[in-house]
C-alpha cells in the first residue's frame, strides 16, 4: 500500500526508500544499511547483505519479506527490511 506513495516528492526531495517499500519481483541494489546496531550490520554483512549488493523481494507475508541475496532465500521481519535502504 505504501509502494504507490514511496516515490512521491516531498518538498522537492526524493524520499529515501527502504526494502519494506519495495515491490515484489524487482531487483534492487542496496545503497545503505541504516542501523546503529553494529552487531546487526555485521550479521547482515556476513550474509552478503551490504552496500552495492543486489537484493530481490520474492514475496510478502504480513510484514515479513522473503528476499533473495547471493543465491539464498531469507525470510526477514519488517523491522529488518526497514534497515535496508535501496
Amino acid at each position: 500500500m505504501s509502494e504507490a506513495y514511496a516515490d512521491i516528492m516531498l518538498d522537492g526531495n526524493i524520499m529515501i526508500k527502504n526494502l519494506s517499500e519495495g515491490s515484489v519481483n524487482t531487483e534492487y541494489i542496496i545503497s545503505d544499511i541504516k542501523t546503529d546496531d553494529p552487531e546487526l550490520k555485521n550479521f547482515l554483512f556476513s550474509l552478503g547483505c551490504y552496500e552495492g549488493e543486489k537484493v530481490k523481494i520474492i514475496s510478502r507475508l504480513a510484514g515479513n519479506l522473503v528476499i533473495s541475496v547471493k543465491n539464498a532465500r531469507y525470510s526477514i521481519g519488517s523491522d529488518l527490511a526497514e534497515v535496508i535502504i535501496i
Binding site: 550479521f43 556476513s46 550474509l47 514475496s59 507475508l61 510484514g63 543465491n71 526477514i76
Partner: protein
Amino acid sequence: MKIALAGNPNSGKTTLFNAITGRIEHVGNWAGVTVAKKEGAVKKALNKTGVSMSVVDLPGAYSISPFTSEESITSGFVKNEKPDVIINVVDASNLNRSLFFTTQLLELGIPLVVALNKSDLLLKRNLTIDSEKLSVLLGCPVVNTVSTKRRNNGLVELISESAGRVGSQQISPFRSPKVNLFDPSSVDDADRDRFSFVNDLVYKVEMRKKGSDKYALQDKVDRFLANKWLGIPVFAMVMWTVFAISQTYAGPFLADLLVGWIDGLYVFVEGLIDGKVSPILQSLLLDGIIGGVGAVVGFLPLIMVLFWLLAILEDVGYMARVALIMDRFFKKVGLSGKSIIPMIISTGCAIPGIMATRTIKNERQRRTTAMLTPFMPCGAKLPVIALFAGVFFKDAAWVGTAMYFTGIGIIIAGALIVVRITGDTNARSYFIMELPEYRIPSIKRATSSMLARGKAFIVKAGTIILLCNAVIQIMQSFNWKFQMVAEGDESTSILAGLANPFAFLLIPLGFGVWQLAAAAITGFIAKENVVGTLAVVYSITNFIDTEELALVSGGADVASIMGIGSVAALSYLVFNLFTPPCFAAIGAMNSEMNSRKWLWAGIGFQFSMGYSLSFLTYQIGTLITTGAVGTGFLPGLAFVLLISGYFAYLMKRDDKETVPQLKMSF
C-alpha cells in the same frame, strides 16, 4: 586426532557427521537444528590411518565473529580447542556466501579441507565449479561430497585428505589488513575487502549457464505455501493429513498386527505359569508388565508413522515455511520468530525442544519459550491421544489435529500473559531465517530419523514404564495392611488411597475417580504411563482392536469399563496434555531457565492452564450435550476464577524490575 566440522547453517554438516560416524543425530532441512556440539568417532570403513579419529559437529555459522549464540559455540571451539583439522562444509550451490566464512577459517592457521557438499545439485542448477582451481586458489584440498548418498559420496577421500593434512601449516590466500577493532569503519573496510576477494574467487571457478532461474518454481510454491492467508489453512490441512494417515489408516493397521503378537505372548506366558506361581506374581507379570508395557508398545506404530511423516515434512523444507507463517503471531505476542524451532522439535520430544531455546538471545523470550514449548503435544503424549481418539471418537483425525492447534493457541495466549506479567512489552526482536530449498524427501533419511526418535520411546517403554507399571500393579494389589485386595474391593488398595485426595480435586473436571487420577499422576514420570496405568488399573490390556468386539477389546467396552462419557474423556485428554510435562522435561526447563523463580512460575502456569482448560471443556461440553452443567461446577468455577484472578492481578501489577530494551535475537 580431532576433526571439526564447520560451515554455514543448513550446509549439511550434521548429515555429513552422521555419514562419517554412523550415528543418527537429528537433521532437518533448515537452519539451526544443531544447537550444541556433538562428537563421534570416525567409522572404521572410512578411517584407513590406524589412528583413532573423532569428529565434532558444530552449529552452523555464517562468520567467525560471533553474532549469534550458535556462532559463538562454533568460533569458541575452533579458537580454544584447536582441532587438528577443520573440515569446512561448503554448500556448493551457494559458493559465494560460504567462502566468506572459509577465508576466515583459513586465517586461523589450522589445516583446512573444504568439503564441497551438495555437489549433486550442481548439475540440476546448470552450474559447474572447477574444484581443482578452487583448491589452488584457496591453498587447501577441495573434495566434492554428497553426504546424502551411500556410495561414491567422496567421504573416503575427504577423511584421507584430512588425515594427510595433520600437522601441516595452513597458508591463507587472503590476509586481512591490520584492523583496528575499535573503529567500526576500519572493520567494515576489511570485511568489504574480504567479500570482494571472494567475489573474484567465485568469478574464476564458477560457471553459471545463462537464463537458469533455478528458483522460479520454488518461489511460486512459496507464494502459495507461505501465503499471508493460505499459509495457516494449508498448514492445518497438512497436519490433518498427517494425523489421518498415522492415527486413522496406516497406524492402526500396523498396531493391530503388533497387538496380536503381544496378546499371543500374554496367552503363552499365562499357559506357562498358570497355577504354578502365586497369584500376586502372576498378576504382576501378566497384567502389570506384559499388559502395561504392551498397552504402550501397541501405540508404537502410530507414533512411528507420525514421526516418519514429520521427518518427511522437515526434509522437504516445509518446516522452515511453517516457522515463517507462525512468526507474525509470535512477533505480536513478544516472542522471537526463533521460538517456533523449539516448538516444532517438541512435537518429537519436549526435552530437546526445550534445549533448543538456547539459541534465543533475549533472556525473557528464552525463558518464556522454555516454559511454553511443553504445551506442544510430544511423542509420548500421542499414545494418550490415540487411546482416547480410538475409544471415544472412532479414531477421528480431528482429535489429534485439534490438540496440536490447542497447543499452539495456548502458547500464543501464554506468551501474551507472560509478556504482561513481566512488563517487558517493549522488547523487539529482529527476525531472519534462511529458507532452505525444497527437495525431494529421502525415504532413507526419514526412516533413520524415525528410528532415532522411536528408539528413545522403546527404551523408555522397556525401563521406566516397566518399573512404573510393576509398582502400580503392586500398589493396586495390596491394601495398607499389605494384604491382597479382594475382588470388588479395589478402592481399598494403596493406590486408591494415594490417588483419592487428588481425585477429589478432579471432580469438577468430570473424572473424579481414583483410577484416572492415578493414571494422570504417573503421567508425570512419563506421559506414556497414562496409557499403561489405565491398562493396569482397569485390567484391560488390549485397547486398540475396535473391529472385532472380542474379549474386552472393543472401544465401547473400554468406555463402559471406564464409566465416563466422551465429554469427560476429552476433558481428561486436555488435562493430561496441557498440565506440566514429565519430570525429565521439567528438569530441562530448570537447566535452560536457570532461575528458580521462573521454574516454579512456569510449573504453576502450566498446571493452572491445564486445569482451567479441562474444566471449561467438561462443563461447556456437558452444557451443550445435556443442557445442564456437570458435577462440581461451582467449586470448580470458584477455583478457576481464583487462578485467573491471580494471573490478572500479576498482569495488572506494574513490574518495576524490568527495563524495556531493544534486544536482538536471530
